[in-house]
């Protein structure tokens, strides 16, 4: 098992495709917290998008990524819950089923690779909690976001299915809340907090997908959250990129900025909004930034 304090950074597909602000802000806060990331020279899709078509193809693609990480003898850190969930699940399945492992390794042989099961994967959320620690993050905060009231949205694959993920409590998750409170901001409770954002059904039934996101935004608006905090590229697209579309489609008004958790933490660590790719956000965050800046000036 790799013990080095370095981590292999697994980027995935969705973040470079549409949500680079998440990567920019994550890299900034990880550097601030003294984490050394090792770049993957090559990788492929984690496998998740292929699962509905061929479970076998999903297993092979995920195992291929894990085998590449094993060659470098490093654990994986990923920002995407889909990638994290898939790599964790496949690692566990193959470690427990030697016959299936052999079958998958037959495929990997074609690329001169072998899955052994020696690498662990963590999503950013789990990484921050377990490898850095909430107390250390709290101690690193130089500009506490006192007075700011936000809501959180976890993203299903960080928590479920619990038998494969084994992190936090999917029915009452606390990690993201604790990490938000570590910045000095208040994290509000709201109805149906753990409900899915609906992103995977975009393209199958946009109406169903956007209805899910609308109800979540309504619940978040009800508790007067000033921002929504996400830790998943797909959830972020659902609420930020699609917020205007939802407003138009259902005749609603929200104007709730949707921040990646690293953007929120970044502000509290003293980084500037322009260093954290705030300008990439579709829902204008300028009022929020003004308020944060005013609070900081009066501190």
């Amino acid at each position: 098992m790799p013990t080095d304090n370095k981590y292999l950074f697994f980027l995935g597909c969705a973040i470079p495709y549409r949500v680079s602000s998440y990567e920019v802000s994550s890299r900034k806060i990880l550097a601030k917290l003294g984490v050394e990331l090792v770049e993957l020279p090559e990788f492929n899709c984690c496998g998740l998008p292929l699962d509905p078509v061929s479970h076998e193809a999903m297993l092979v693609l995920a195992a291929k990524n894990l085998a590449l990480a094993e060659q470098q003898d490093l654990n994986i850190l990923t920002l995407c819950p889909g990638c994290a969930g898939t790599l964790k699940k496949v690692n566990k399945i193959l470690k427990e089923d030697s016959q299936l492992k052999q079958q998958v390794n037959e495929h990997l042989k074609e690329a001169k690779l072998e899955f052994k099961g020696t690498t662990e994967t963590k999503h950013l959320l789990q990484f921050l909690k377990e490898e850095i620690g909430v107390d250390k993050i709290k101690a690193a905060v130089t500009k506490p976001l006192t007075g700011l009231k936000v809501a959180e949205h976890n993203g299903c694959h960080v928590l479920r299915p619990k038998q494969y993920i084994g992190f936090d409590d999917p029915e009452d998750p606390q990690t993201l809340k604790m990490l938000i409170e570590a910045t000095g901001a208040t994290c509000l409770d709201y109805v149906d907090e753990t409900e899915c954002c609906g992103a995977p059904s975009v393209g199958i039934s946009d109406k169903v997908a956007l209805s899910l996101a609308r109800d979540k935004l309504n619940h978040i608006k009800d508790v007067q959250a000033q921002a929504l905090i996400t830790i998943c590229p797909f959830c972020h697209i659902m609420y930020d990129t699609n917020e205007l579309r939802i407003e138009k489609l259902f005749n609603e008004v929200y104007g709730i900025p949707v921040l990646h958790y690293p953007q929120l933490l970044g502000l509290a660590l003293g980084l500037k909004p322009e260093e954290l790719a705030f300008s990439d956000l579709r829902v204008n965050p300028s009022r929020l930034i003004e308020q944060v800046t005013e609070t900081l000036n009066t501190q």
Binding site: L11, C13, A14, P16, Y17, R18, S20, E23, V24, R27, E39, L40, P41, E42, F43, N44, C45, P49, L50, D51, P52, V53, S54, H55, E56, A57, V60, L61, K64, L100, H107, L108, E110, A111, L113, C156, H157, R160, P161, K162, P170, E171, E195, C196, G198, A199, P200, S201, G203, I204, S205, D206, K207, V208, A209, S211, L212, A277
Partner: protein
């Protein structure tokens, strides 16, 4: 906007004995993901906790499982609503019989694909993975933007090895062949 029809017409028709494949449930028991399907006692926890079922008139995981155990193979595999599941795994985590409900739906999807039913969005993603290693084609503009944002270059997608390791997986190969034929046709 792509839409799944609001009602699942085939399931509203009376069942004919000729439709029933009594061996279908044993086929499912033998597949990874749906091994425990016979444990289902139709409590409905999956459907009542399903975020999609709340907003869709047609997607009901309990009904799909019931139809499958009755042997209504064609109705299950041809059902459009199969593709609405968001794989949030709430049903899997809450099933009192420990059935991985979302995995059962995934098995249905895999079988549906084998029988020729596959939504375009999944075809596109496989095509992209085989071509570039990435599930989406990353636009040139995005790659340039990475530089301006101070991000390291995009990792290589390793598509050649992706194609190598997926060799022998029939369904992937058939999609790849279809794609190859289309590309050749365009060239001609």
């Amino acid at each position: 906007m792509t839409e799944i029809s609001a009602t699942q017409t085939s399931s509203n028709q009376p069942i004919k004995t000729s439709e029933i494949d009594p061996k279908f449930k044993y086929e499912l028991v033998a597949l990874s993901g749906s091994e425990k399907i016979l444990r289902c006692f139709q409590c409905g926890t999956c459907t009542s906790d399903c975020p999609i079922a709340r907003y869709s008139d047609s997607y009901r995981p309990r009904t799909l499982i019931h139809m499958a155990t009755l042997g209504l193979k064609d109705r299950v595999l041809k059902s459009d609503t199969l593709w609405l599941c968001v794989a949030c795994f709430t049903c899997t985590d809450r099933c009192p019989q420990d059935i991985e409900v979302a995995s059962v739906i995934r098995v249905f999807r895999n079988l549906a694909v084998e029988s020729g039913c596959i939504p375009q969005v999944f075809k596109d993603q496989i095509g992209s993975v085989l071509e570039s290693g990435y599930a989406y084609k990353i636009p040139e503009l995005r790659i340039k933007k990475r530089e301006s944002q101070g991000l390291p270059p995009l990792p290589k997608g390793d598509a050649e090895n992706v194609r190598k390791v997926l060799k022998g997986i029939k369904i992937v190969e058939s999609i790849q062949n279809l794609k190859g034929e289309a590309t050749n046709a365009n060239r001609q």
